[in-house]
């Protein structure tokens, strides 16, 4: 039983990390209808920036803030120079552009930081928690708390502020939003800032959680988060979060308890195709 609970806790952490990476993707898809594959590259850059800043300032908070600012700038640059000029073309054009950006950034990371796995050992300012025989490590607590904080903050911004109202309006009908006086390009920029800053946090968290930072750490999330936003219903943020948590738990439990010869990444896609055939608009999507 206690093994099961530990598996469940690990699965939840996995799902929380997926949710953090997927949030930016779901936000961007919601507003621009672009599959922002390069988001995973922003996440890799976030982990590297966090690692270097932590080495320089020796403060996790400063490192996180710096990394968020850097990634937000990177995200806005991608939006300005790649996506915005390509919006008038069919969706596969920005998608290929996005994949090219992702590969180029991955290569830059490899060339600048080297191809090896760097360690990210940062002592967290709180102890492990014990419940009888079950231990919740400090990193696990950090993953839960940060994810919960980000989700609450995002919920607050999108549903309780004027900016959130503008974001929702622009994602429903951009020309109409323009007509009623919303600066939709500004809203797009803000969306990229929020999404990329969350990706930076996710990158640092993953780096600390696995104690690893390497150039290709974004490859698997890049495509798996696509599966997650499809299952959640393209563009639906709550759907994406639920799908991410479900996938994290399901993957961990399946790998732990069932003898399946396929790796977990393939399972995610099989689950995705199953959901699509059953409900082609995703779990929380609308037709």
């Amino acid at each position: 039983m206690h093994l099961f609970i530990e598996q469940l806790l690990n699965g939840l952490a996995m799902g929380a990390i997926y949710a953090l990476v997927t949030l930016g993707l779901a936000l961007v898809y919601g507003i621009l209808r672009i599959l922002h594959v390069a988001h995973a590259a922003v996440y890799t850059v976030g982990a590297y920036a966090g690692l270097y800043l932590y080495g320089a300032f020796d403060s996790l908070l400063l490192a996180a803030l710096g990394s968020m600012v850097f990634c937000a700038a990177l995200g806005v640059a991608i939006e300005r120079f790649v996506y915005f000029p390509l919006l008038k073309y069919p969706p596969y054009v920005p998608l290929i552009g996005s994949i090219a950006v992702m590969l180029a950034i991955e290569e830059l990371c490899r060339l600048i930081a080297g191809p090896y796995i760097l360690t990210f050992s940062a002592p967290l300012p709180f102890p492990d928690i014990h419940f009888g025989s079950i231990t919740i490590s400090a990193t696990l607590t950090a993953v839960y708390c940060v994810t919960a904080a980000v989700l609450v903050l995002l919920w607050y911004i999108t549903s309780r502020t004027e900016l959130g109202l503008a974001m929702r309006a622009a994602s429903q009908d951009m020309p109409m939003a323009d007509a009623v006086g919303i600066n939709s390009h500004f809203v797009i920029t803000v969306t990229f800032v929020i999404g990329s800053a969350i990706a930076a946090v996710a990158g640092m968290l993953v780096g600390i959680y696995y104690n690893q930072v390497y150039p290709t750490m974004g490859t698997v999330p890049a495509y798996k988060t696509l599966a997650i936003i499809v299952v959640g219903g393209l563009g639906s943020v709550p759907g994406a979060v639920i799908a991410a948590l479900l996938l994290g738990v399901a993957e961990t439990l399946l790998i732990g308890y069932a003898q399946i010869p396929l790796p977990r990444d393939a399972l995610a896609f099989i689950a995705m195709i199953g959901v699509l055939m059953w409900r082609s608009e995703g779990l929380m999507g609308s037709k």
């Binding site: 290929i96 090219a100 060339l111 393209l234 393939a266 699509l276």
Partner: protein
């Protein structure tokens, strides 16, 4: 020609065949596919299994390879009837990952070791290697181009164009989306299977990573760079994208960065492809054929 040039040229011809198949699905029928390497792999693995397990010669196995990859294309093309656009793009990415995982983890397909010892192709008692195999591939490429050309001229091709432009309107005119989308999928995947069979017999050793997702990306890039929905676009794209990494070989460590940056610049400034409607090369060729007058 040196052996090095022949090797590159043979691979270009094989990739051009596969890219032509992808062009039928993406360019002619307008169904985005990001998992074409899966069908390339299915062709290669079928050919390799026939050659190593049953000992059938390339020529007897080839029809079976084409039929099997076409049938798998039919099966995996079924999602395209249910989902469209971005959903289809992600579904095909998923198909690619699943097929690669099956090749890599199921022992029947050789697992991580792949399949080795695939014999060379013989024709009239002659073992084809080097320049001989290059001409064989070129022959098949010409055949594929002929099929593509015929496809754009026949009724089925016209129906596909109509579906690509406006599915509801075409369906209203009595064109069955199911029938013609699946026809495009079957033709395109059978062509990928042909390319795969040639690849397996040329490399004589295949493993799952030869058909991974990045290969799908480069195949789609070939079609996009050359010009979607044009006859010669995929060939030009295969030529450019296979030759460039070789030309940039002296750059060693910066090679991948260079080719991805080039792809990015291409898609940013010439998204219709070099031979597409507003493409750079197309306007040059048009100006030249009018005697240099604009």
């Amino acid at each position: 020609m040196s052996a090095y040039v022949i090797t590159i040229a043979t691979l270009i011809a094989i990739y051009a065949i596969v890219a032509c198949g992808l062009n039928i699905i993406v360019g002619y029928a307008g169904q985005i596919s990001l998992g074409h390497a899966a069908f390339f792999g299915i062709g290669a693995y079928t050919a390799a299994l026939f050659a190593t397990k049953t000992g059938l010669s390339f020529w007897y196995a080839l029809p079976c390879v084409l039929i099997i990859s076409g049938l798998v294309g039919l099966l995996l093309g079924l999602p395209s009837l249910r989902v469209r656009h971005d959903f289809l793009a992600i579904t095909t990415i998923g198909i690619n990952f699943i097929v690669e995982a099956i090749f890599l983890y199921i022992p029947f397909f050789g697992g991580a070791l792949g399949i080795g010892g695939i014999p060379r192709v013989t024709l009239f008692g002659l073992t084809l290697k080097g320049i001989g195999f290059f001409w064989l591939c070129t022959g098949f490429l010409v055949l594929s181009l002929a099929v593509c050309w015929w496809f754009t001229r026949c009724w089925a091709g016209m129906a596909c164009f109509a579906l690509r432009e406006e599915e509801e309107a075409a369906a209203g005119l009595g064109i069955s989306p199911v029938r013609f989308k699946l026809l495009a999928f079957v033709t395109g995947t059978a062509m990928a299977g042909l390319g795969g069979a040639l690849y397996a017999h040329y490399m004589r050793f295949i493993s799952a990573t030869d058909f991974s997702f990045p290969v799908s990306i480069s195949l789609l890039s070939m079609v996009v760079v050359g010009g979607m929905g044009t006859l010669w676009g995929p060939v030009l794209g295969a030529l450019i994208l296979s030759a460039l990494p070789e030309l940039f070989r002296p750059l060693v460590d910066y090679r991948i960065l260079f080719t991805t940056t080039l792809l990015l610049l291409m898609i940013r400034f010439q998204p219709g492809g070099l031979l597409g409607e507003t493409g750079f090369l197309r306007s040059r060729i048009a100006a030249w054929s009018r005697g240099g007058r604009r």
